[in-house]
Amino acid sequence: MSFVKLTASAVAIAAVSATAASARDQVQVAGSSTVLPYASIVAEAFGENFEFPTPVVESGGSSAGLKRFCEGVGANTIDIANASRAIREREVQACAENGVTDIIEVRIGYDGIVFASDVNGNSFEFTPEDWYKALAAEHFIDGQLVANEFTTWNQVRADLPNQEIQAYVPGTKHGTREVFEEKVILQGCEDGGFLQAMLDSGVDEDTAESNCMSLRTDGRSVDIDGDYTETLARIDANKDGIGVFGLAFYENNTDTLQVATMSGVEPTVATISSGEYPVSRPLYFYIKKAHIGVIPGLKEFAEFFVSDEIAGPSGPLAQYGLVSDPELASTQQLVADENTMGSSM
């Protein structure tokens, strides 16, 4: 029967491919969707300029990327994890349990987090305190926690526009969320003296901080688990919405979005690199040292990523919206020396 032969050959193909799978000749990268555009730009240029095949860059989020990174050592695991936050102690331990011990941490630059609203709507001048007051689940008033009842921005602060509070914030699987909580919400809680008030009333620090950072769940703050395009679509549908974006995304969509200032500073590459604009975070990628020399082109790719031509202030990454790292030279040295996290600390 011809189909029996067909089945047999199909099984044979599958078997052959399974054995061939151990050899891999391109670098595999996965992780943060914030780093993905930068990594894809570098991967493309790497493929054009080197004899190695173009690295494969998958998206999926910082945590998912690091989880796959920590699955173990070998050609069927990824070589590089992109992350929009630093690796956590827990993740380092999980890595070590699976035999991934030597990790090289590379900081590629900084990314600004901006607050943007519909281009034809009101303009906003925010402070972290405004965001805390608008989005916190409960306010600490006169010694007790009271549910947040603000519905418009001008209730938060009189000189903000009279517009419904509707915020689209990154979901918890995004590295951006952590930065948003720490640099905006927690900062606002501190600036307004709410954190201190809680501590004074005898609440311990951890509880106080988590009180500060818990966001309201009555629909005025919406977690976006998808990408910035989803946030953009939400704002398109609800013109009162204010979304949290990466600077690069905003700069590609200036025709539909207007950006809000934070503490009086407008987010640009210049204000973020000088540190004037407060909400920014470093972007990283993590290399599995055990794969250097095994996967062809891995070290070359890492070195190319942090080279002046690529990650420098006039390179294509800065062009796209990355705030280049002033300490790029030491990062280049770190990659060249293959300094792992333990040894450089």
Partner: protein, 453 residues
């Protein structure tokens, strides 16, 4: 029966005699109900058609723009001092010049072009004008020089892609108002484009690169094409066809013709129907756990995608094959057995050929469904910057990382630059053309080979 009817009329009230030509109230009501039902049906169909029209119009109006692209024609002097410092035309030396080294050549060529044409612009030099051109120009130039090293020192005419903003300007997506706060392009660039258009240097033409090309990074949407992921989809469909057709047909022939009817085969039957209703993302998770984490097949490889989609397509094929086997009248089997054929001969010589059109139609519909499936591919690493290179040969087609058409569309729709959004719509058109072709083949097969008993 006759007794029963005989007793009835006395109990019933006598009906008035009416003419067939005049309608009584009851008939009118029945007829009205029928008319109303027909109207409901027509309304339902019209709503369906309306949605279809709306969908097609949106897709075509949004997507057709992806099939044209703006090109800039200019002459580039391949300066020996830059490209081959030693002058020995040694490929290894030429290769050492990266795409960054080629950028000044393009800037100079652009500046020359603008000066030759006598265009006044506010932009002071080629580097400032560079924003109108795609970042892919340097790579295109470098590829040309590496394959034609003897052309170094000559002046060659090239057709480069314009940047996505310029392309959007020609397509009406980008306007002077919309770029007011855009860091990548200014209205001086748009003025320059207007002038270059008049001189015929910039033109919008059909973009074959979109259909045949590979994916591009976020900084150059103008270069991205769906070609590589089309190949990925093709190899996945090969795997699906090679596995699910024989397995599905063999399983259904056994279940339908040979298997005893008992609790166990009933159990299998119920499970096959259940499997057909399982959401495809479940197969994705299964594929990740079994094929990648356990069997160590490579990430993002079409063979894994094909295996996952095979799991998804199998129940569809089994169900349609069994249906078409059932549709073959038992008289055919009886006749074959009656003239002395064995059970197997009766199935393979008589039943299967008659059921073939139905089996093929079911297979093609199953393949078309698999071709458009995205969800399981998200989990096996087919979304991201994957389809950036063509696979290397036939085996590479199965094993090299690649994406698939629906996954590529999903990825484009996520990207920041609005130019990618346009390409996602264009990708949908390509995908729809494939699906329609497959459905058309299925219809033709059915029409040509269908038998009526």
């Amino acid at each position: 029966m006759t007794d029963a009817t005989a007793g009835q009329p006395a109990a019933r009230p006598r009906r008035e005699k009416t003419s067939l030509l005049t309608q009584d109230g009851r008939t009118k009501r029945r007829n009205a109900a029928e008319t109303r039902f027909k109207i409901y049906g027509i309304i339902a169909i019209s709503i369906g058609l309306l949605f279809l029209m709306g969908m097609l119009i949106t897709i075509i109006s949004n997507g057709s723009r992806a099939f044209t692209q703006t090109f800039i024609t200019m002459e580039v002097t391949l300066d020996e001092a830059v490209l081959d410092k030693n002058g020995n035309r040694d490929l290894a030396d030429i290769r050492r010049v990266s795409t960054f080294g080629y950028a000044p050549l393009i800037n100079a060529a652009l500046e020359n072009k603008v000066q030759d044409l006598g265009i006044e612009t506010l932009l002071e030099d080629g580097a400032a004008m560079r924003a109108i051109m795609s970042a892919s120009a340097a790579a295109q130039l470098r590829d040309y020089v590496l394959s034609n090293p003897d052309q170094i020192g000559e002046t060659v005419e090239f057709q480069f892609l314009a940047s996505s903003r310029v392309d959007g300007y020609l397509k009406g997506r980008v306007t002077r108002e919309s770029i007011a706060r855009d860091r990548n392009i200014s209205s001086a660039h748009l003025l320059l484009i207007d002038d270059l258009m008049e001189q015929g240097t910039v033109e919008r033409s059909f973009n074959l690169g979109f259909i045949t090309g590979t994916d591009a990074s976020e900084s150059r949407p103008e270069q991205a094409g769906i070609g590589a992921s089309m190949i990925g989809s093709f190899f996945m469909m090969l795997v699906v066809l090679a596995l699910s057709l024989p397995i599905g047909v063999a399983a259904s022939i056994y279940l339908e013709e040979f298997a005893p009817k008992n609790l166990f085969t009933d159990f299998i039957e119920v499970n096959i129907s259940n499997l057909a209703a399982v959401p495809s993302i479940v197969f994705g998770i299964l594929g990740l756990a079994v094929f990648i984490q356990f069997a160590h097949l490579p990430q993002s490889a079409p063979i894994v995608g094909g295996l996952v989609l095979t799991l998804m397509t199998l129940p569809t094929i089994i169900i349609s094959t069994r249906a078409s086997l059932k549709a073959v009248p038992p008289s055919i089997r009886d006749a074959a057995l009656g003239v002395g054929a064995s059970k197997m001969q009766s199935v393979f010589h008589h039943v299967l050929p008659l059921a073939m059109p139905g089996i093929l139609t079911g297979t093609i519909i199953g393949l078309a469904q698999a071709l458009g499936e995205t969800a399981p591919l998200l989990l096996i690493g087919m979304v991201g910057f994957i389809a950036s290179e063509y696979p290397d040969g036939f085996v590479g087609g199965f094993l090299d990382p690649n994406s698939a058409m629906p996954a590529q569309i999903f990825e484009w729709a996520k990207r920041a630059d609005p130019a990618y959004y346009e390409r996602a719509w264009g990708g949908i058109i390509v995908l729809l053309v494939f699906l329609m072709t497959m459905n058309l083949i299925a219809i033709i097969l059915r029409r040509r080979f269908e038998r009526r008993w």
